[in-house]
């Protein structure tokens, strides 16, 4: 028999946890469980009746290879995220040193991430349209490119991936900057006294110091590239070969009313992302970094 005060001590943390747990379960886990349940039915998203169909949706998904072809589009975004991480790393490193106007530049680089994705979609629609901002700027520098930027699959996907880089680079940048600034200043001083130049400081102090954040960014980029949605959905609606897996899933669910099949597709996407993350963690283990 435990002492009464000790028993209360055991309950207190759970009381504190109650609110977040209820929210987490209601808004995160319960919908996921519902979705998994729907994936085994033929529900159309609105009809009062639904039937259990077993693994039929999954069988259909895996026998229709064209449903997975859309993952080629993710390749564009994957390539773009390499550019994005490299650029973010570059800017974070440069701005971690004493540069003039560094706070201004930090603001400029982070700003796009604060804008709503839908607004970005509309802004860039005007940017890319025939005779729009991009054409006008290119015209100013004497390049009279008369082309439809969203007109062919390759051009459209590259343009959209470019928008995605513009939008998300700020997030990577801030993550990197935070990690870099948490490296103690004495290390740089010591390195400078030893005669290390900027590149050597980056190579031997910054790069190992931010490795956990770097690997997190890579995981986010890979899962982000597999589940691109907002920008292409608003700008092209998936036309002209820009359809991604998530857009396809949304169309299955809300255009063709195959909520069951779409739920199965969403479950498969979740599993793919978990698998990719797992593989990556196995390849690049997240060891404790110890600089000093």
């Amino acid at each position: 028999m435990a002492h009464p005060t000790r028993r209360w001590r055991g309950v207190t943390p759970w009381l504190f946890l109650l609110a977040p747990l209820v929210l987490l379960i209601t808004f995160t886990y319960a919908p996921i469980v519902n979705m998994v349940a729907y994936s085994f039915t033929d529900w159309d998203g609105v009809s009062p009746g639904l039937h259990y169909t077993g693994a039929e949706n999954y069988a259909e998904l895996f026998t229709r290879s064209e449903l997975f072809e859309v993952f080629f589009v993710s390749g564009y975004y994957l390539a773009a995220s390499v550019v994005q991480i490299a650029a973010a790393l570059y800017f974070a490193t440069v701005l971690s040193f004493n540069v003039r106007f560094r706070n201004f530049f930090k603001g400029v680089l982070f700003f796009p991430y604060l804008i709503n994705g839908v607004a970005i979609g509309f802004v860039f629609l005007y940017f890319f349209q025939d005779g729009g901002t991009l054409d006008a700027i290119l015209g100013l520098v004497g390049y009279d490119g008369d082309r439809a930027w969203l007109g062919t699959p390759i051009s459209a996907n590259v343009s959209l991936a470019g928008v995605s880089v513009w939008r998300y680079m700020g997030l990577n940048f801030v993550l990197f900057l935070g990690a870099i600034q948490s490296i103690p200043g004495e290390l740089y001083e010591a390195a400078e006294i030893d005669g290390a130049n900027r590149w050597q400081q980056f190579r031997h102090i910054i790069a190992p110091g931010i490795r956990p954040v770097l690997s997190l960014s890579v995981i986010l980029s890979v899962s982000g590239s597999l589940s691109v949605f907002e920008i292409p959905y608003i700008m092209t609606g998936g036309a002209t070969g820009t359809e991604t897996f998530v857009i396809q899933t949304v169309k299955l669910a809300f255009q063709f009313n195959k909520t069951g099949l779409a739920s199965a597709a969403a479950v498969v996407l979740l599993l793919i992302i978990l698998a990719v993350t797992w593989v990556q963690r196995r390849l690049v283990p997240d060891d404790k970094v110890d600089l000093v």
Binding site: A30, S47, F128, D130, G151, T236, G237, F256, K258
Partner: protein
């Protein structure tokens, strides 16, 4: 119990609870009968509508005031929903979806009796109203559209006549030649696709019925291949393909803009768009705003004739229905009847009246003069066509395949038109086999 088990149990319980949140069944087969004495009906009814513009500018309130002259005890409230389809679809999982609502397109016909109260039998209603079979399930009618629309090309008369065209083209080939003449004789874009906004492309499906001049066109879709040689949709899609292929469209279809296209058509920068009679009002308003003559907006049928006459299909807009769970079914029914018969809503929208004996609206006078035959299509197989459409994922009521078609025609997608249409036909007929029809 250690912490992990407690957590696992909590999550498990939540999963069980959520597993039970299915969709509730409802009372079925109720009737919303018209009240005998208007003075006695009472109650507050909520009308869900997609016409947010009319709710905001007070037009709906004026209708309600007018309605109250006959039915003084009924209080009508309106709820305008911008994303009507999306929001109502979700609300229909509960019982709380207004007293009167427009039937969302997503609801399957066979489910109508579960969601709506019947307005009467088809035999009785079809004597007076158009479009009854669009919402008939087992002989009972569940909805009534307050207006009807007719598809057609909206065009700028000045541009067309400046290109030397005086008569409506009667074949797709003639139509193409006319567009080419417009291209060579003016600066106007001969045909504007509205590719980016997508839904205007779905309007092309309304060609179905016009080419063969056949009231059984919907049944043909259900039973045959819509892209067989000479079938209506094949003719329509081929024309769209040829228009794009002959470079008679806007320069960059991927960034079109519907709102901006209206004044451009009014000003003669765009010559033609395939839309419907509902668009004429909007184009005329755009013309007034742009300071051009609203009379320049013309309307012509699909370029195909059967025995020397054009045919145009009439189709309903959203159909009003009574919520089966409503506590004030008589009042709701009274609203629908009044709105359909007496409100003047159809006239205000320059649309076809749902009353069979009503005269044609002014915008369709040119059709009347040219002897265009208006077809009320038999929709008994409409539900089957919709489920075929979803099952096959072709999407004749969705924009995707026509976007692909336009991409194909302008070379942004590989393949030939014949293969593309054959592919659609294959998917369609396979779905027919799977559904066992």
């Amino acid at each position: 119990m250690n912490r992990r088990t407690v957590l696992a149990l909590a999550v498990g319980a939540a999963m069980l609870a959520s597993g039970c949140t299915g969709t509730g069944g409802t009372s079925k087969g109720a009737d919303a009968e018209a009240p005998d004495d208007p003075a006695k009906v009472g109650g507050t009814i909520t009308v869900l509508t997609h016409r947010t513009d009319l709710v905001q500018d007070g037009t709906m309130k004026k209708y309600a005031a007018e309605f109250n002259k006959t039915y003084p005890k009924v209080k009508v409230e309106f709820e305008g929903l911008t994303d009507y389809e999306g929001e109502v679809k979700i609300r229909m999982n509960t019982e709380n979806y207004g007293d009167v609502l427009m039937i969302p397109a997503v609801i399957e016909k066979k489910d109508y009796p579960k969601f709506f109260a019947s307005l009467g039998t088809r035999a009785e209603r079809s004597k007076k109203y158009r479009f009854t079979d669009y919402s008939t399930v087992q002989g009972k009618v569940y909805g009534q559209s307050p207006i009807g629309v007719v598809p057609g090309f909206v065009y700028n008369k000045k541009v067309w006549s400046a290109a030397g065209i005086t008569d409506w083209p009667t074949t797709p080939a003639e139509f193409l030649d006319d567009l080419k003449a417009i291209k060579s004789k003016s600066e106007a874009v001969p045909y504007y696709t509205n590719f980016k906004d997508m839904w205007p492309l779905t309007q092309w499906t309304n060609v179905n019925g016009s080419v063969g001049c056949d009231t059984g066109a919907t049944t043909r879709l259900a039973e045959g291949n819509p892209w067989a040689d000479g079938a209506d949709l094949r003719v329509a899609d081929t024309l769209l393909h040829d228009i794009v292929k002959s470079d008679l469209i806007e320069k960059d279809p991927t960034t079109t803009n519907w709102e901006a296209s209206k004044p451009r058509l009014a000003k003669g920068e765009i010559a033609t768009m395939w839309l419907g009679s509902w668009a004429i009002v909007q184009m005329q308003a755009a013309a007034k705003q742009a300071g051009t003559d609203p009379a320049d907006i013309g309307f012509m049928p699909f370029p195909a004739q059967k025995n020397g006459t054009f045919c145009a299909v009439t189709s309903p807009d959203y159909q009003q229905a009574v919520n089966v769970n409503s506590d004030h079914k008589a009042a709701a029914r009274a609203w629908i009847d009044w709105f359909t018969d007496k409100s003047g809503y159809a006239g205000a929208n320059l649309a076809l009246s749902p009353l069979k004996d009503a005269p044609l609206p002014d915008v369709l006078k040119p059709y009347e003069e040219a002897g265009v035959k208006l077809l009320d299509i038999d929709d008994t197989k409409g539900a089957e066509v919709k489920s075929l459409d979803n099952q096959s994922e072709v999407g004749i009521y969705k924009p995707d395949y026509r976007q692909d078609l336009v991409d194909l025609a302008r070379g942004a997608r590989k393949g030939s038109l014949d293969d593309f249409l054959a592919g659609l036909g294959d998917k369609w007929t396979e779905a027919q086999r799977n559904l066992g029809s």
